[in-house]
Amino acid sequence: MRFEGKHNHTWRKFKSALACTIAFVSAILVILPLGLVFFYLLINGIGSVNWDFFTKLPAPVGAVGGGMANAIVGTLILLAIAGVIGIPIGVLGGVYLAEYGSARINSVLRFLADVLNGVPSITWGVVVYGLIVLRFKSFSALAGGLALGLIMIPLILRTTEEVILLVPNGYREASLALGVSRWQTIVHIVMKTASKGIITGILLALARVGGETAPLLFTAFGNRFWNHSLTEPIAALPLQVFTYAISPYDDWHRQAWAGALVLVTGVFCVNVLVRILTRGRGASPL
């Protein structure tokens, strides 16, 4: 082929520019919903985000004011319970997949974990309802936390496995060659090297389940007052938003907007935290 055909060249340049433009517009479209969500929440919710919102209990129907203090604390308690269940099991499971086990068993486990990750979150609510709520005849914070914790396990398991596999083998060998045992090597060398990635996975899993509503509907159930025992129903921010949003009261609608805004801001903050963590001091490749 010779360098002739000026038309051809122009046509190709045009196609290239077109493809580039389409890709660019698609990228913008990806971000657009996030911008819209934030914009809407800010407009509708910011007016109700005030000191009372963070410190007061919900006001009775008809009374003006009140807040979601119990729901905010409730979400934190639920996340703590979920973390106690989900973090150790997820992290240790990820370590097992990455460091032990045979290739065949691991690929089965990995596949099952991916299936679990795809299970609709309301399913977890139903499972825990059947296992815990029916048996103890009570909605409870523990049941809600368990449902969230079960969702966290496969999420954390997969991220932990992936970041541990990223740790170069040279570090394992160097440690073992010093006469350090396998387990000590995994804990003090491998997991320490991958710690930023593991923490990132944990934070993202917490942010993900922190916004879940469906698994809490018939486990934590919600509560208009302070929760005094983990065996009693407990309020959660997304549940409260759900309840208020489907209510017929304007005041509750405003509170629902505010609750959603606080929730999204929380998730946003966790993601920013993750960015800062993963940027780090550059000492680790992860």
Partner: protein, 282 residues
């Protein structure tokens, strides 16, 4: 003597008080041999990587292992501290005696073997999460030594032996990865020396370094042999000639020829050795 291979963290501390040269050796052993390898064969799955190798490795000397890529020299080296077992589906036959004790007899913990037979790798690999100082003493710390005074002494001693102390003594709290390539490799040598092994295995320790850093490591190896038995794999014929007292030539998993380096290089008995050394293949 039998309990030398027992997994106790105290042993390290006790041993730390002695010089490695005073480690008791079995009276039946020929005094000058640290390793006595008999009929060693190693398989990776179905593939035989080492075939019937018998060799005695001299104490307080540098033994170089040469041979073309894939000839099994790294496998042989790794079998001397049971590192090859990290590869799945390996099988080993034969015996390896370290100062008279069988490294492969049942009940011997590979972890303890590796404490006595240290290893330096081709690619320097200081732990990225640790400072220079932490890197040196990590082997002791993870084996349960927490006496800070002892650790500090061992830190300085190891870095001095690795000829790195003067360069890093003011930067012990900087990350190990902040050093240059050659310094990182000497840091890894210091890290290996800190657990006071009897033998230091080196797997092409200079192949990733520039000539100046290589010269420093070679000088260091020569210094270290007064206290340690050193076995090094190298691709570099000149290097083997410069630093080693004995040379073993491996080809296709077999030990073709073994003897004093001067003999191997000037008057090899085997045709294959001569061809390899003169650069006709490999």
């Amino acid at each position: 003597m039998e309990n030398l291979l027992m997994p106790t963290s105290e042993r390290i501390v006790e041993e730390g008080m002695e010089q490695p040269s005073e480690v008791p050796s079995n009276s039946e052993t020929v005094l000058a041999s640290t390793f006595r390898v008999k009929n060693m064969s190693i398989w990776y799955g179905e593939k035989r990587a080492i075939e019937d190798v018998t060799i005695d490795i001299a104490s307080n000397a540098v033994t170089a292992i040469i041979g073309p890529s894939g000839c099994g020299k790294s496998t042989f080296l790794r079998a001397l501290n049971r590192m090859h077992e990290l590869t799945p589906k390996t099988r080993m036959e034969g015996t390896v005696l370290l100062n008279g004790e069988d490294l492969y007899s049942s009940g011997v913990d590979p972890t303890v073997v590796r404490r006595r037979v240290g290893m330096v790798f081709q690619k320097s690999n200081p732990f990225p999460t640790m400072t220079i100082g932490e890197n040196v003493i990590v082997g002791l710390r993870l084996n349960g030594v927490h006496d800070q005074k002892f650790l500090n002494e061992r830190l300085e001693k190891s870095l001095r032996m690795a000829a790195l102390w003067d360069e890093v003594k003011d930067d012990l709290n900087k990350p190990g990865t902040s050093l240059s390539g050659g310094q990182q490799q000497r840091l890894c040598i210091a890290r290996t020396l800190a657990v006071e092994p009897e033998v230091v295995l080196m797997d092409e320790p200079c192949s990733a370094l520039d000539p100046i850093a290589t010269a420093k490591i070679e000088e260091l190896i020569s210094d270290l042999k007064t206290k340690y038995t050193i076995v090094t794999v190298t691709h570099n014929m000149q290097q083997a000639g410069r630093i080693s007292d004995y040379t073993a030539f491996f080809y296709l998993g077999r030990l073709i020829e073994f003897g004093p380096t001067t003999t191997i290089f000037t008057n090899p008995k085997e045709r294959q050795t001569e061809d390899y050394i003169t650069g006709r293949f490999g």
